[in-house]
Amino acid sequence: MDNALRELYQEVILDHSRHPRHYGAMPAPSHKAEGYNPLCGDRVSVYLKLDADGRVADIAFEGKGCAISQASASMMASLLKGRSREEADKLLEGFLHLVRGEEAAGLTDDDRETLEVMGGISEFPMRVKCATLAWHTFRNAVEEGKNAVEEGTT
């Protein structure tokens, strides 16, 4: 098998996709959003409990999608739990750089090490959107997701 493929579908990613962490709808979230990839029809919902100061007290997601999108959502949820708003923003920005094969200067060493497994996606430009879907949805949930909860919509 070629190396790019082996790197894309390495064990950590397959494990996250088969056994996603923080998976399932959250009762009474403070924020939520739904993401949709019209290219493949994949959907993901991200649920958050944000503290008064914006810290991610709890996070969950659910949805159906490819191994990349599921693994990425699972890793995102694991990493974001407990982060401040500022830390979450930095992580998101760093991740978006990383999957495009760009310099991800804002990431801490620990986060970089954890997310390194997602770096292989940069070799597959048609699949970058699979990896970023949940992360963009997280950002929408933070920025606009309070209304979605109050209106009972996503």
Partner: protein, 419 residues
């Protein structure tokens, strides 16, 4: 050695896919160091050299705008453009050349019927009958009429094997039906619809029929007069021709009643400050400078296709499909969607725990190009309860060895994703 041509030889000789492949330069390239196995012709077919060479040659020797100048080149280009129309007429067995309107593709052809024929006559509550296996290009234009004119869409289901439910079709056509809009061949299931039967049943109730022939015309011989069909849409790029060109066949009486929706040059007879009169069809519907080079390219592609023994081509494609269908039975994790009798050479499937995009990415790295996604057929995806499928579509240049490559690639994908 030259062998004198004898008609019976053409019938007796099996179709030689290997020989035809040589006419498609792109098929000899590699991707990721592996031979290209192109199984995405349902999305767009590759083009034989004769199409590409003729388009270049025409552009270099005879090109000018059409229907305008009196100069030599304009006359030459107009001749070629109008000859292309006659080639489409011949391909579809239309009675008259002025029943062929050039469009930029199948989508525009269907939109033309929606805007120019149906929109002016539809009333709130009038119904349009369509099947759940339509491509979005044969759904969205009718949704426009639902949104803007109060039309009601009546959906005809397919059976679990993908066959059209003819009983449901009968039931759906009622006194308020203004049009039956149906695919000739599903781009996902491969199902070929019985157009002659559909037209007979619709006409018995006075309802015209439009067929989306974007897939059907590639694999079936279309005779619009024998079918007595009202509208038939084709696109060039799936017929081994260029992009940016397609055509609508419409019965003369319909064309004469139609209101143009694109206004501009070429489609008028006279323009004054306070009034216009339109040109006769088909010019009435071809506003602006048309895709001249593409029309010439399409004509070459159709002539090339008509020069082949199309029954032998169909048999070859069917053999590829049958072989692939048999081979994938070994994968108990793979479920084929669409097994209608007499279906065309399209194999769609979903796999347990393996998403279409993961499968397609891994196949791609093996050199095998397939389509993954909803195939612009989300209503059909909903019918089968899937978000997406993987689709291999076979063309006349595909070979048995390429089916084997697909099957090997699928086994590899399973290995990668399940260890």
């Amino acid at each position: 050695m030259t062998v004198p041509f004898r008609k019976e030889m053409k019938v007796a000789m099996p179709f030689d896919a290997e020989a035809v492949r040589g006419q498609f330069p792109i098929l000899s390239r590699t991707v990721y160091g592996k031979p290209l196995v192109y199984l995405d012709s349902g999305a767009s077919a590759q083009k034989p050299s004769i199409v590409l060479d003729t388009m270049l040659d025409f552009t270099q020797t005879e090109y000018a705008n059409v229907h305008r100048g009196v100069h030599f080149l304009s006359a030459a280009a107009t001749d070629r453009y109008e000859a292309a129309r006659r080639t489409v007429q011949k391909f579809l067995h239309a009675a008259r050349e002025d029943e062929i309107v050039f469009t930029k593709g199948g989508t525009e052809a269907i939109n033309l019927v929606a805007y120019s024929w149906l929109m002016p006559i539809i009333r709130p509550g009038d119904e349009i009958v369509l099947s759940v296996m339509e491509h979005h290009s044969n759904i969205v234009p009718w949704h426009f009429l639902r949104e803007r004119c109060g039309a009601v869409l009546r959906w005809v289901d397919v059976a679990d094997d993908g066959s059209l439910d003819m009983g449901a079709l009968d039931g759906a056509i009622g006194p308020k039906t203004r049009l039956v809009a149906i695919t000739h061949m599903s781009n996902v299931l491969g199902t070929v619809t019985p157009l002659n039967e559909i037209v007979a049943r619709a006409h018995a109730k006075g309802v015209p029929v439009l067929a989306d022939g974007c897939q059907g015309a590639v694999h079936e011989i279309v005779d619009v007069q024998a079918l007595d069909i009202d509208f038939y849409a084709i696109t060039g790029h799936k017929l081994y021709g260029p992009t940016g060109i397609g055509a609508l066949y419409a019965k003369r009486a319909h064309l004469k009643a139609m209101r143009p929706f694109n206004g501009g040059g070429e489609m008028i007879r006279e323009v004054t400050k306070d009034r216009i009169t339109y040109a006769d069809p088909p010019a009435r519907f071809e506003a602006g400078t048309p895709p001249i080079v593409q029309a010439v390219g399409l004509a070459v592609a159709l002539d090339w296709l008509m020069g082949l023994d199309r029954a032998a081509v169909a048999a070859h494609e069917h053999a590829l499909l049958t072989h692939a269908r048999e081979k994938v039975r070994q994968f108990n994790w793979l479920k084929v969607i669409g097994d209608a009798p007499g279906k065309g050479a399209i194999l769609s499937f979903e796999a347990d725990d393996m998403h279409a995009h993961d499968l397609a990415t891994i196949l791609d790295r093996e050199g095998v190009a397939v389509r993954a996604g909803h195939h612009c057929a989300q209503v059909l995806m909903e019918r089968f309860g899937v978000a997406s499928t993987t689709r291999a579509s076979f063309a006349l240049y595909n070979t048995r060895a390429e089916v084997e490559a697909l099957v090997a690639g699928l086994a590899r994908a399973r290995e990668v994703l399940h260890g």
